[in-house]
């Protein structure tokens, strides 16, 4: 962001409006998912799955030459595809989905065998992180792109990416609102949900689907760091203050949006990568709850 300090705030906001709007959308929807992951004691999924999605996007670049030669991408040639990743956005989104859902289903299948959930998810994260770096070295766009993706330089998000993200996250938010009671009941007391006649398997599949949508599209457009920050941290920060489930949802979204605003300010003021600044701000918001508990 060289030379950014010379641009007035109003112009910066206008210039990066799609990135900022995308971050605000993520600040609203990711904490909602985080609430369910946190109370179901599966917050680690919020760390491991974005890493899978990142590996998927980077693998997309590795496979790009072969894909263009054998399958084709609507007339886009390799030079254009590697120069401007916007041109092949849907291609990368598809790879992000394949890796996210692949990782998610693998973790769910392995969880049926028992053993340590934390160990499994930590192992999955390590594998996905290593794969990301290895794919990065093998890809035609090289290590620089991977570093940028991981750092969360989301200021380049344009109208098309914002629109796609808004539609997908809007769908996720709608599903959360429509099924909030079923998701709560199945998460809190699975057996009672069964006795009450709820289709428990379908509701859990819905949560899996929403998790996949939020993580794969969020990682693709915004990078994994902001996803780590906005899925996991606001839900933990809000739990310290929530006195009911209704207040928990509102507080988590509030902390998510506050983290975005503080992160944007910090990023613009101190020339920091926006995604990492937002995740950092979300981490700072953990402090009051932590101190209040100690007090």
């Amino acid at each position: 962001m060289d030379g950014l300090e010379a641009i007035p705030w109003s112009e910066r906001i206008s210039l990066f409006r799609y990135a900022l709007l995308s971050a605000l959308v993520a600040g609203t929807v990711c904490p909602l998912l985080g609430v369910f992951l946190h109370v179901r004691r599966t917050s680690f999924y919020g760390i491991a799955l974005p890493q899978f999605a990142t590996a998927g996007v980077v693998f997309g670049f590795v496979a790009l030459p072969w894909w263009i030669e054998h399958v084709g991408l609507g007339g886009v040639d390799l030079a254009e595809a590697t120069r401007d990743s916007h041109a092949v956005m849907n291609y990368h989104l598809a790879w992000s989905n394949v890796f996210t859902f692949g990782g998610l289903f693998a973790l769910l299948a392995l969880s049926r065998r028992g053993g340590s959930e934390v160990g499994r998810v930590a192992g999955a994260f390590a594998i996905a992180a290593a794969a990301t770096l290895l794919f990065g070295r093998m890809s035609p766009v090289g290590k620089g792109f991977v570093d940028e993706l991981i750092a969360g330089e989301l200021l380049g998000v344009g109208l098309h990416e914002f629109e796609t993200l808004a539609v997908l996250y809007g769908l996720a938010a709608l599903l959360f609102v429509l099924f909030r009671r079923d998701l709560l009941l199945v998460s809190y007391d699975r057996e009672s949900a069964q006795v009450l006649g709820k289709r428990v398997f379908a509701i859990e599949a819905l949560l899996t689907l929403v998790t996949g949508i939020v993580v794969s599209s969020g990682t693709m457009f915004l990078g994994p760091v902001i996803l780590f920050g906005l899925i996991v941290l606001p839900a933990i920060a809000a739990r310290a203050w929530a006195r009911s489930m209704s207040s928990y949802y509102v507080l988590a979204i509030g902390f998510g949006l506050l983290a975005v605003v503080l992160g944007v300010v910090a990023s613009f003021e101190f020339d920091l990568p926006l995604g990492a600044a937002i995740a950092g701000a979300a981490a700072v918001l953990l402090l009051p709850g932590f101190l209040a508990r100690r007090g």
Partner: protein
């Protein structure tokens, strides 16, 4: 046990277990309105398997189970509910109405009022805004009974309702169940390892041991001299309380 038309739950030659292995078999049982039954037996004998089978959480491996009650209230073990959820007592009780609600519909005012009435019934109305996890063991159990009452049950099934609570709280829970059983002809089936509690509270007992279920009157089956006979085959486990 012959099943009348009025029976709320009927099991005929039913077997329950996991995979293909039956843990309890040849279960014949009919629960009528106003019945008060307890499932007892040594640890590991299959009490929970029978309970889950009757509740519908395990499909029968053989025979059949008919749940004819218009509504069944279920009270799980309170330890199964995670304190990480910041739910209030009122929110927990309102979950009992979730079975009737779809989509965006708000919980109707009538259901909210009924949740409060159920909390009053169990003596917890003044704690309705408290986080559920801050209640004592006995209070949490009564909160879960209030949730089960939300479905207006004809039959209530309770999993170890008095385990881990002090004697005063235990007495209060049992008083409540006896009162519901008597005033509403609510049929009650509970599973417990607390023999003395079951003997003094329930009318009939389902004794589970060696994969079989024996039914009888509580006062007779759980008389000290009979208990010695019942336990003689398997030995009285340390976890069972007399």
């Amino acid at each position: 046990m012959s099943a009348n038309d009025s029976a709320l739950l009927v099991a005929q030659h039913a077997a329950f277990g996991y995979g293909r292995r039956a843990v309890v078999s040849n279960v014949d049982l009919a629960i009528e309105p106003g019945d008060f039954l307890g499932i007892v037996g040594p640890n590991g004998a299959g009490k929970t398997t029978l309970f889950r089978g009757l509740l519908g959480l395990l499909p029968p491996l053989e025979g059949r189970v008919e749940r004819r009650a218009r509504a069944i209230g279920y009270v799980p073990q309170r330890e199964a509910l995670d304190a990480l959820f910041p739910v209030t007592v009122e929110e927990v009780v309102q979950m009992g109405a979730f079975g009737k609600l779809r989509g965006l519909r708000r919980l109707p005012a009538s259901e909210r009022e009924r949740a409060i009435a159920c909390l009053e019934r169990v003596g917890l109305a003044d704690r309705r805004s408290a986080p559920f996890s801050t209640l004592s063991g006995g209070q949490r159990q009564r909160g879960l009974i209030a949730r089960a009452l939300m479905v207006e049950p004809e039959l209530m099934l309770l999993d170890e309702p008095t385990t881990g609570v002090d004697r005063a709280a235990q007495a209060r829970i049992l008083e409540l169940l006896v009162e519901l059983n008597a005033s509403r002809r609510l049929a009650v089936l509970l599973v417990s390892h607390q023999i003395s509690m079951v003997r003094s509270t329930v009318q009939r007992v389902l004794w589970v041991a060696d994969g079989r279920v024996r039914a009888g009157r509580a006062a007779e089956m759980l008389a000290p001299e009979n208990l010695d006979k019942l336990y003689s085959a398997v030995g009285r486990p340390a976890g069972d309380e007399e």
